[in-house]
């Protein structure tokens, strides 16, 4: 596991974002459609050169705690942005900028 030191070296920006850290959760049990949403989210963050706490939520009972019906779901800062479909890269970028 990479230590925080290594991370600082790789991406010094990550800690400056701590003040308003963005939380992104990808809901899905690990099917290819959910992985696609994760990939697009990462690409969106990279294109905006932003860092965020991105986690996949795979446990079904955890997924059910969000008010998202259907997987894959995308949650940014606790708000369900999409569910049951794969949003486009542009959509994800817009949502990330809204929540910045």
């Amino acid at each position: 596991m990479a230590s925080s030191h290594e991370y600082k070296y790789l991406n010094p920006d990550i800690f400056s974002l701590r003040r308003h850290k963005m939380e992104i959760r990808i809901l899905g049990t690990g099917c290819p459609r959910c992985n696609e949403v994760e990939k697009r989210t990462m690409n969106a963050l990279a294109e905006l050169s932003m860092a965020a706490d991105v986690q996949k939520v795979k446990d079904i009972n955890e997924i059910a705690k969000y008010s998202a019906f259907g997987t894959p779901g995308l949650v940014i800062n606790g708000k369900v942005k999409s569910s049951g479909r794969i949003p486009s890269l542009e959509e994800i970028k817009t949502w990330i900028q809204q929540e910045k």
Partner: protein, 406 residues
């Protein structure tokens, strides 16, 4: 705290990679053990191997181009172009109960294009929405009424069994949901959070009739290119058969026009992409399932590794025992998406009765051992046991009924 963020991110990719490596390792071990232990010199094993590849060839020649690929395009279109919020509002805590049940039992066709979405939706409906009744109704019918399952069942196992599967799933889903609701009515206070259905969908870009026409054209194409050769030379069915390629061609051209005129480039891209994801996910499983079914059971009329007498003894005819056995076996067995179809084809060819076949089709994809564990984590041990019992009973009853229909 910053350290924690970094750890979380690195852990994410690290764990994914480790899972993937474990998965690859387990495939290696399986292939190695198979290569090590299977007695390929024996005549019956060689026969079974030939059967496996013959069945694979049958699928490649008969079902892939004209049935599976169009079906994947329809599934992709459903997942991209049908707005799900209109359906999901019936799962809310405030929705009217009768509507919830009926919507829950049929909506699998729209919401659960692949079976991996059934369980999370079930958990959501149970914990945040309409409660245990509609949730279990959805759980039971979801795997049976999704487009891919219905199309492949009808194509490979016959239209009658395809329709019986869908109808049986829908009718008995309502019944199971209703019984679960009567037994374990959820107390009102447990519905704490007023379920807010996310309103994130973009406004509809084309009118409803265009979407409807687009979908019905696709379904019509699928129906006409698979139009079977009728037994007689005369009659409407025969005359439709003689012009089926003309009709399909005209429909295909009009579909092409619709796609170009009504959809923009981004939408077309999403559609193909979504189709591709389904294909990528399901084709390898189906490939393995067909080989396995062919190896163990053979094509209809050919015997492979498992002797036909065994099949006939356990699930032949239409007795209570055969139906019950098929239901219980189906409930515990794990079927990857769509693989129930080649397995059923093998079993039917080896002498399985049509009643038990329906029982297995209904209980099989709806339940499996790993599935049961997940369901237990959502609704608890007692409810899960009752649900399993209900599924086995209902599947048995459906099988018995279907078995006596001529």
């Amino acid at each position: 705290m910053p350290r924690k963020t970094a750890e979380k991110i690195s852990k994410l990719t690290w764990e994914d990679r480790r899972m993937k490596d474990r998965w690859i390792l387990s495939i290696f071990v399986t292939v190695f053990l198979a290569a090590f232990f299977i007695p390929f010199g024996q005549l019956n094993v060689q026969k079974a191997l030939v059967e496996a590849f013959s069945l694979l060839q049958e699928y490649a020649r008969e079902h892939v181009l004209l049935c599976l690929i169009p079906a994947f395009f329809i599934a992709g279109a459903i997942s991209v172009f049908i707005k799900k919020t209109s359906v999901i509002k019936y799962f809310g805590a405030q929705a009217r109960k009768i509507l919830s049940y009926s919507v829950a039992s049929v909506s699998g066709s729209i919401l659960a294009v692949c079976s991996c979405t059934v369980l999370p939706l079930f958990a959501s409906i149970y914990t945040r929405g309409a409660g245990i009744g509609p949730a279990t109704a959805f759980l039971y019918s979801g795997p049976a009424v999704n487009v891919l399952a219905i199309i492949l069942t009808a194509k490979v196992l016959g239209t009658k069994l395809g329709v019986a599967r869908a109808v049986g799933a829908i009718v008995f889903a309502v019944l199971i949901g209703w019984i679960m609701h009567l037994l374990f009515e959820k107390k009102p206070e447990s519905i704490d959070a007023k379920t807010d259905i996310p309103v994130e969908e973009k406004p509809e870009s084309r009118s409803l009739w265009k979407t409807a026409l687009y979908f019905s054209t696709m379904v019509a194409i699928l129906v006409f290119i698979n139009w079977g050769k009728p037994g007689t030379e005369a009659g409407t069915w025969a005359s439709i058969y003689s012009v089926k390629w003309v009709i399909s061609g005209v429909l295909l051209l009009s579909l092409a026009w619709m796609i170009l005129a009504w959809f923009d480039k981004a939408e077309r891209k999403e559609w193909t992409f979504s189709t591709w994801i389904f294909a990528k996910q399901i084709f390898p499983l189906l490939f393995a399932g067909v080989l396995m079914a062919g190896f163990l059971l053979g094509r209809p009329g050919h015997e492979a590794l498992i002797p036909n007498e065994w099949v006939a003894r356990w699930v032949g005819g239409n007795g209570l025992g055969a139906n019950l056995f098929a239901s219980i076996a189906g409930a515990f067995m794990y079927f990857a998406t769509l693989t129930e179809v080649p397995i059923l084809q093998g079993l039917l060819g080896a002498g399985m009765g049509k009643g038990p076949a329906l029982a297995l089709l209904l209980a099989g994809p709806a339940l499996s051992l790993p599935n049961m564990l997940v369901i237990r984590s959502v609704i608890g041990m007692k409810k899960t046991l009752v649900y399993i019992l209900l599924v086995v009973i209902m599947a048995t009853i459906s099988g018995l009924i279907y078995g006596v229909i001529p």
